[in-house]
Each structure stands twice: as structure tokens, then as C-alpha cells.
């Protein structure tokens, strides 16, 4: 009996590893493909007789050189960082006080309002982009990076408010009460006590808002048509292509350089992010 069980667990472990390896290969393959394409010479890349999985000739930095010197890639990265920073600031200014108010100051209907705000996160860009394009041109922001800076907080505020509400609720009320007895005002308790105590929640919101700016595609594609105003998510797939000519080496280099840092950032706050979706379903 004991030996049978051991055989079974051995078999189980093998199956588990097979599943892990299979998914890692399937999900990770495109990124390996970006990596190897980045360093391949064109003569190697476009020769069907070569084994495409390996470097058949010496690696080259030509694609990277072209990407950094001959294209607007760095400009798009700069635009994205700039837009990301401002979106983060807007999000924090609006979502942190709102979350605190809904968690602490408004009683039962605060929770209802919180769910209502979260639901607006589900309204898709593909429903709003047509009327919003009129709103954007009424604001005089068409074809400007500022159009997406103004619009992205509509994604980040609902989700961040929802996330931070959970954070504030998990802090015991007694702490504020004690501080207020000691003479702090409600606002003082919020600024001096609650904000420092929810640093990790606020950091989560910062990373969430920032990565969203790099990931969003539909609004940036809709509102911005000039190449030099673009973010990296639209610039790379649309403006690195000249007519029908794809410069695959540089294109894949751009993809890799964009994906990896966001991947690392995201991993840091992943668990908090998932909590936002699973509130209530996981206890």
C-alpha cells in the first residue's frame, strides 16, 4: 500500500512538472522569440534554411541601434513616463480621500457608493470612445498626449478607490479615535495617521495606475494620430511599421524592452491587485 502510494505521488509530481513546463513554454515563448529576434542579423532572420530557434550567425546590435537612433521609440517611452506620472498624481489626489471618506465617514451607503464607483471600471473604452472623442476635441486636446492623461484616471480612480477602501477598512478604528481624543482633527488623523499606515496600498495604486498607462491601447489609438505624441503601447505596433514593411528586429527589441520592466513592476504588487478583484469571494 505504502509503495503504491509512493509510485502514485511520483507520477503526480511528474504530471505537475509537465503541466508547469508546458504552460511556461507556451506563455513565455513569444518573449523568447522577441529576445532572439532582437539580436539576429537580417541575413539570418530571413533565411528559411536556418534553424529559427537559435542564432545561426554572430549576434548584432543593429536593430537596437536603429530603434534608439532612427525611430521615435525613446520619445514614446518618455511620453509614457510623463503621462504615467501625471495620471498617478491625479489618481492619488482623487482616489485616496474618496476611499477614506467612503470607508469611514459615510456609513452603510458609503459601501454602496464604493461598489457603484467600482462598476464604472467595467464600462469599456470601446463603448465610450466615440462620444469621448467629441469631448476631447471640445476640450481642445485632440491629437495631444494630454487627451489620454485626462481620460486614463477614469480607469484608475474607480479601481484604486475600491482597493484603498479595503485597505482603510482593515485599519482598526480605535487608532484614529485615540488620536482624535488626543486633539487631532479628523482630517489631521487622515493625513498624519491613515496615509502613512496605508503606504503599501498607496504604492499598489501607484504601480497599478502607472502600468495601466503603458498597457492601454484603444484610447491612445483613437485620440492621438501624431507619432510624436504617442505612448509606447500604440507607437510601437503602429508607427514602427512603414507602410507594409515590418522591421521585425527593431520591432521585437521594442516589444522586449517595453514588456520586461512592466512585468517586474507588476509582480511586486500582484497579490494586492488580485485582492481588488476577489474581495468577498475569498475569505
Amino acid at each position: 500500500m505504502a509503495s503504491r502510494r509512493r509510485v502514485k505521488t511520483w507520477f503526480g509530481i511528474m504530471v505537475m512538472w509537465a503541466v508547469r513546463v508546458f504552460f511556461a513554454v507556451v506563455l513565455g515563448f513569444p518573449f523568447y522569440w522577441m529576445l532572439i529576434t532582437t539580436f539576429k542579423r537580417n541575413s539570418d532572420l530571413y533565411d528559411l534554411k536556418n534553424n529559427p530557434f537559435i542564432l545561426n550567425e554572430l549576434p548584432t546590435l543593429d536593430h537596437l541601434r536603429w530603434l534608439f537612433h532612427e525611430t521615435l521609440f525613446l520619445r514614446w517611452v518618455g511620453n509614457t513616463l510623463f503621462a504615467g506620472t501625471i495620471v498617478v498624481v491625479i489618481t492619488l489626489l482623487l482616489a485616496v480621500p474618496a476611499a477614506y471618506a467612503l470607508a469611514r465617514l459615510t456609513g452603510a451607503w458609503g459601501a454602496q457608493l464604493g461598489i457603484g464607483i467600482f462598476l464604472t471600471y467595467l464600462v469599456p473604452s470601446t463603448l465610450l470612445f466615440i462620444p469621448l472623442s467629441k469631448v476631447i476635441s471640445a476640450l481642445g486636446l485632440q491629437d495631444s498626449l494630454w487627451s489620454v492623461i485626462v481620460v486614463y484616471p477614469t480607469f484608475t480612480i474607480p479601481f484604486s478607490t475600491w482597493l484603498l477602501m479595503g485597505f482603510f477598512k482593515s485599519i482598526p478604528k480605535d487608532i484614529e479615535d485615540a488620536a482624535m481624543v488626543d486633539g487631532l482633527t479628523r482630517w489631521g488623523a487622515f493625513v498624519k495617521l491613515m496615509i502613512p499606515m496605508s503606504t503599501s496600498g498607496i504604492l499598489t495604486v501607484v504601480i497599478f495606475a502607472f502600468t495601466l498607462v503603458t498597457q492601454e491601447f484603444v484610447y491612445a489609438l483613437t485620440f492621438i494620430s501624431s507619432a510624436n505624441q504617442q505612448t509606447v503601447g500604440v507607437g510601437v505596433p503602429t508607427f514602427l511599421v512603414r507602410g507594409d514593411v515590418f522591421y521585425w528586429g527593431s520591432l521585437m527589441a521594442a516589444c522586449l524592452i517595453t514588456s520586461l520592466p512592466i512585468g517586474v513592476l507588476y509582480n511586486i504588487f500582484l497579490d494586492k491587485f488580485i485582492e481588488g478583484f476577489t474581495v468577498g469571494a475569498v475569505k
Partner: protein
């Protein structure tokens, strides 16, 4: 002091609410107005035209294809995501050497900008230099001069966009399920296996039923994010060949934004609303259930 609190709450949450009202609420209402009007890019006036846009949309054969595709796209990819993510979550549950690194790799398709990931796939599915075709030729499954045109043939193109979207959504569902899986008390499945229940019996009669609320969450968000998305399709096929991979959101984009017919584009995207309402209702319901327990 109590008086101060009464206005402090609204003062703190009103800016966020007004921002959302102006840039989500207002355009949401405008979308309905546009769909029953005659707005074009650059046009000045607004005339009510009743259901004319909807009638013209419903008679448009491309729209009929797009509706059918939207359902095929959403349902097929969500089934694949569900099966894949459940399997993967079970394989990632226990601690093992390299788990963090594996999680990083597995997350990349969700975390990397989807437009960027899709461009990677566009290269993998290239008509001439596709690595998949290269492997198939080497395995003598297809002839070298007759490789599949992955994105140029209607059936293959549809299959490709579904699989790439599945690739993109799988990590998201996996991490959500993983959160649910780790929340199941360990002793329950263990007790079942001591009582003689095999792996699959434990899985289907205990683990999966206990995970249902969380599977529900993953499916609800997955459906919304899939039904309303056009990025993968825009990058890979632009709805082609001959509109055979067009879905509701991409058709709304091509009609309303690129085609400048705002009214008809708005009418098309209004067809996203019913699913939105259903999902919103179900999210509300599960949120209420969470509050009660």
C-alpha cells in the same frame, strides 16, 4: 466636531465622483444620444432620427458577422481560459523550487501591453517566416511551398485571434483561481483522499465546487474584458480577411472612428451594453452576498 465630519465626507469623495461622472457618465449618456441621431465628424447640428441607425446596422451583413464572431471569440476563449487556468493553478498551488520565476514568466502575457504581445504573435504567425510553419514543414506535416497563411485565411485567422487572446487572458484567470485555491482549507481535500477518494474525484467533487465563487469572479471579468476588447484583433488582422474576424468593438471603431460615422459607430457599440448590464448585476449580487456572510 461632529458637524465638521458631516461635510468632510462629501468634500473628500465628491471630486472623484465628479471626475467619473464627467468622463464616464456623460459619454455613456452621449453614446445613447448619438445612436439615435445623425452625428458625423465635423457636423454641427443634431437631429433625432429614431431607430434609423439601429435598423441600418442590423441589416448590415458585416455587423451580423461581427455579432456572431463576438460570441464565438468570447465563449471559445473563455472556455479555453477556464480549463487552462484551472489546470495551471492546480500545478502552481504547492511550493516548489523556481515557483517565483515560473510565476513571473506565466504572468508576462497579461502584464505586457497586449498590443505589444500581439505584435510578437504577428511575427510568430508571419505568412512567410512563421516559426510554427517552419516546425510543421520540418515535421513533414505541410509542404514548404504551401505553408498555412495564418492570418490571411478566415478560419485560421479566427482561430489565431482566439488563441492569442486566450494566451493574453490565461494568466489573469490563473492568479485569481490561485488566490481562491490557497484559501481552501488544506485538510478538506486531504481528508477526502484519506477516505479513499482519488485525485479526480477529489478535484471534481470537492476542490472545484469549493472554488466556484472564485471561478465565477474570473469568468465574469474575463467575459467583460474579452467581449469589449479589440486590441488583439486590431493588431493581428484589422478585422480581415474580408471582415471575417470583425467583432462588435472593432467594427464600432472602424465605422465610428476611422469611418467618421459617429452615429452608426455609437449604435454598434450600444450592443455591448446588454452583456455589461448582466455582468454588472452579477458582480453586484456577489458583492452583496459577500457583505451578508
Amino acid at each position: 466636531m461632529i458637524r465638521r465630519q458631516r461635510w468632510l465626507g462629501p468634500v473628500m469623495f465628491m471630486p472623484a465622483i465628479l471626475y467619473i461622472a464627467a468622463l464616464v457618465g456623460l459619454p455613456f449618456v452621449m453614446a445613447f444620444f448619438y445612436s439615435v441621431g445623425d452625428v458625423k465628424v465635423g457636423s454641427v447640428g443634431y437631429h433625432f432620427v429614431g431607430l434609423r441607425n439601429f435598423i441600418s446596422v442590423l441589416h448590415n451583413p458585416t455587423f451580423q458577422i461581427a455579432v456572431r464572431n463576438s460570441f464565438i471569440f468570447t465563449i471559445t476563449s473563455q472556455i479555453l481560459v477556464l480549463v487552462g487556468s484551472t489546470t495551471l493553478a492546480l500545478a502552481l498551488k504547492e511550493a516548489f523550487p523556481g515557483r517565483r520565476f515560473l510565476r513571473f514568466i506565466i504572468l508576462l502575457p497579461w502584464v505586457a501591453p497586449v498590443s505589444i504581445g500581439s505584435i510578437g504573435w504577428k511575427w510568430i504567425l508571419d505568412s512567410l517566416y512563421s516559426v510554427i510553419s517552419w516546425v510543421l514543414v520540418r515535421m513533414h506535416l505541410v509542404k514548404a511551398f504551401d505553408t498555412p497563411v495564418w492570418l490571411g485565411e478566415p478560419k485560421l485567422a479566427m482561430m489565431s485571434v482566439i488563441l492569442v487572446h486566450t494566451w493574453h487572458m490565461l494568466p489573469f484567470a490563473t492568479v485569481i483561481l490561485l488566490a481562491g485555491l490557497t484559501a481552501i482549507p488544506k485538510d478538506i481535500p486531504e481528508a477526502a483522499s484519506v477516505d479513499g477518494a482519488g485525485f479526480f474525484r477529489t478535484l471534481f467533487q470537492i476542490t472545484i465546487p469549493m472554488m466556484l465563487p472564485i471561478i465565477n469572479v474570473a469568468v465574469l471579468f474575463g467575459m467583460i474584458f474579452t467581449f469589449t476588447d479589440m486590441t488583439v484583433i486590431y493588431i493581428l488582422t484589422r478585422g480581415g480577411p474580408y471582415d471575417t474576424t470583425q467583432v462588435i468593438p472593432s467594427l464600432a471603431f472602424f465605422t465610428g472612428i476611422l469611418g467618421s460615422d459617429l452615429a452608426e459607430g455609437a449604435a454598434i457599440s450600444i450592443f455591448l451594453v446588454p452583456l455589461l448590464v448582466v455582468v454588472a448585476y452579477m458582480v453586484l449580487r456577489s458583492a452583496h452576498r459577500a457583505e451578508v456572510t
